[in-house]
């Protein structure tokens, strides 16, 4: 168990240094690992990448991040984020046992149930991209939390930018 912890720490530091700078603030470290409440028991973290800081087989996706941000009133995955989705497609194609939950979110403006629709539209946009790249529909589940689970609690434009997102969470 402690091996896993050490591994997670190494992963985290690698990830932080490798994280590309975008116009949105860096997400919290806990948001970009497979940890949290969904993928803690992912079986992919085997000994392959442990020791010496070598390449990690399929976890390239993780280095890129698990959060896709969207423009205002848009459900289009931006050009710079296409690679993130592609990396997840590779990871999912690698093992049909892996499953993801795409969690769509919206900023707080407007009506709550309509925002559920906007969040779902974003989750579906990522789902379509994954499926185009060969991922089986049965590996993907979508859920929209609308404006109910903001990443940033404020009401500024930059808060809104952080809240319009899809989080890719591995559930198996």
């Amino acid at each position: 168990m402690s091996h896993l912890k050490i591994f997670a720490v190494i992963m985290l530091s690698m990830l932080l240094s490798a994280c590309p700078k975008t116009q949105v603030p860096d997400p919290e470290p806990t948001d970009v690992t497979y940890g949290g409440d969904s993928g803690a028991n992912t079986s992919g973290t085997d000994a392959g990448g442990f020791g010496g800081g070598e390449e990690i087989p399929w976890d390239g996706a993780e280095e890129l991040g698990t959060i896709i941000y969207f423009d205002f009133d848009s459900s289009e995955v931006r050009a710079q984020d296409q690679d993130i989705v592609a990396a997840h497609a590779i990871a999912l194609n690698d093992s049909s046992f892996k499953k993801v939950r795409l969690e769509g979110h919206a900023d707080e403006r407007g009506s709550r149930e309509y925002n559920i629709g906007l969040g779902e539209r974003r989750a579906q946009a990522v789902r379509q991209l994954l499926m185009i790249q060969g991922v089986n529909a049965s590996q993907i589940q979508t859920v929209s939390f609308g404006e109910e689970r903001p990443e940033a609690m404020g009401s500024s434009e930059s808060d809104y930018a952080r809240n319009r997102r899809v989080e890719i969470k591995y559930t198996n």
């Binding site: 709550r112 149930e113 689970r149």
Partner: protein
């Protein structure tokens, strides 16, 4: 699996007796309120003190309506508890237009009689007098009922002081948020938490007999629709399909729910679910977002939000299906339609030059009236008398509740005691 179990265990279904009132109400009256007087009620019973200050409950109801200005007790020249003792000159000299007197009498161990009389001081006559039974548990409701009768006599509008509101709160607890579904009296008192969860709770909706609430819960990180009976706390799942299960609203006969289902492909459409059989009928098929359905009071139409024309606008469709018809045309964003119980007005969230505000549209003239002044106002819900609406607005980042008269003249804030308060829905009239 263990995670799921933990989560399930955490999900508490509680029916806790009214602890502290969560809402503190702050009046922002606008119109010129009429001076009235509610004289402290008399008390005949075994305890030295009256178990509930009846006059204070009525006083606060009338004051909060924004239409009345009850005078303070210290200004009263007499404090009769029986109509026969009212001296009209003692009131007209103060400019008081109406006076209420009454008393509470204990008739058994947990049995009381509440009586009151309302007088027109300048007309020198009784407008209404009534006597009703009460217990310790129903005493507050009886006082609200008296206030309703007084309000209706003086304004010609049916009072809603005996009604309830349901709303959702979100509180930060360490790294987690705790969501609660609360039911309280319309004045914020007597609040009960009927459900709480670490996952979001959304879109509460009253059954027409006000005995049940439908709502959306995200427990297990997926949405499903429940109907919960308030008295028992028992609930059952009405819809748990793949994808979105959202936006429930009861049919006027209470047998069906209009809901939004998204399916695996995430195409949100309006469906009607028979609550008993769970059978669902699809009403819309457009690939746009169709959501937030709600029945017209006559049961003929379902009003809903759709962005099939680009931005969200309100449409309506026959409850039996057919071709939807666009209802709103003013502005780029109109969502979450709710018809007034008398069917004359449509409330919605409207983008007013960049701010999301509550607006009502006159169904006949199509004239739009903006009722609120916030930036993020949402979830309008009519009181059963069609004269007042409740909605959520923001105060220093947190959601709070406000009410506004349907003509926009009287607005009042209900400051939240705890957390982020949202999605208020007003109950139908209680059935005695």
């Amino acid at each position: 699996m263990l995670k799921f179990l933990k989560r399930s265990i955490f999900m508490l279904l509680v029916l806790c007796a009214g602890a502290n009132a969560e809402l503190v109400i702050d009046v922002q009256g606008v119109a010129r309120p009429a001076p009235v007087s509610i004289v402290p009620f008399g008390w005949e019973g075994s305890s030295p003190k009256i178990p509930l200050d009846i006059a204070a409950v009525i006083n606060s109801d009338l004051k909060r309506s924004g239409r009345f200005a009850p005078i303070p007790e210290s200004d009263m020249l007499q404090k009769p508890t029986d109509g026969a003792d009212v001296d009209f000159d003692d009131w007209t000299i103060l400019g008081v237009e109406a006076v209420v007197v009454g008393k509470l009498t204990q008739t058994g161990d947990n049995a009381y009689t509440l009586q009151f009389q309302l007088f027109d001081t300048f007309g020198r006559k009784q407008l209404v007098g009534y006597r009703m039974p009460a217990s310790r548990g129903t005493m507050r409701a009886a006082a609200h009922r008296a206030a309703d009768m007084i309000y209706e006599k003086l304004t010609g509008i049916k009072g809603v002081f005996g009604t309830q509101v349901a709303y959702v709160t979100a509180e930060q607890r360490g790294t987690e948020r705790l969501y609660s579904l609360i039911v309280s009296d319309q004045d914020g008192e007597n609040d009960h938490k009927i459900m709480e969860s670490k996952d979001p709770i959304m879109s509460p909706a009253w059954s027409p007999d006000s005995r049940q609430l439908a709502y959306v819960s995200f427990e297990g990180s997926k949405s499903s629709i429940f109907v919960q009976t308030l008295r028992s706390g028992n609930r059952f799942q009405v819809s748990n399909k793949p994808g979105i299960n959202g936006a429930p609203s009861f049919s006027p006969d209470g047998r069906k729910l209009v809901v939004t289902l998204g399916g695996v492909d995430g195409n949100l459409d309006i469906y009607v679910i028979d609550i008993r059989s769970r059978e669902s009928t699809r009403l819309t098929t457009h690939r746009a977002i169709d959501t937030e359905g709600s029945w017209s009071p006559d049961g003929r139409y379902i009003y809903f939000t759709s962005d099939r024309a680009g931005g969200p606008q309100v449409y309506r469709i026959s409850a039996n299906g057919g071709t939807p018809e666009r209802v709103t045309f003013e502005g780029s964003y109109n969502a979450r339609p709710r018809l007034s119980p008398d069917g004359t007005r449509l409330a919605m969230v409207h983008n007013d030059r960049g701010s999301f505000r509550i607006a009502v549209m006159n169904i006949e003239t199509k004239a739009l009236l903006i009722l609120s002044e916030g930036q993020q106002d949402e979830s309008p819900s009519f009181a059963p008398n069609s004269d007042i609406l409740i909605y959520a607005t923001r105060l220093r980042g947190d959601g709070v509740l406000e009410t506004v008269s349907a003509d926009g003249l009287i607005r009042q804030k209900m400051a939240s005691g705890q957390g982020d308060v949202r999605e208020p829905v007003w109950s139908p009239f209680p059935r005695f």
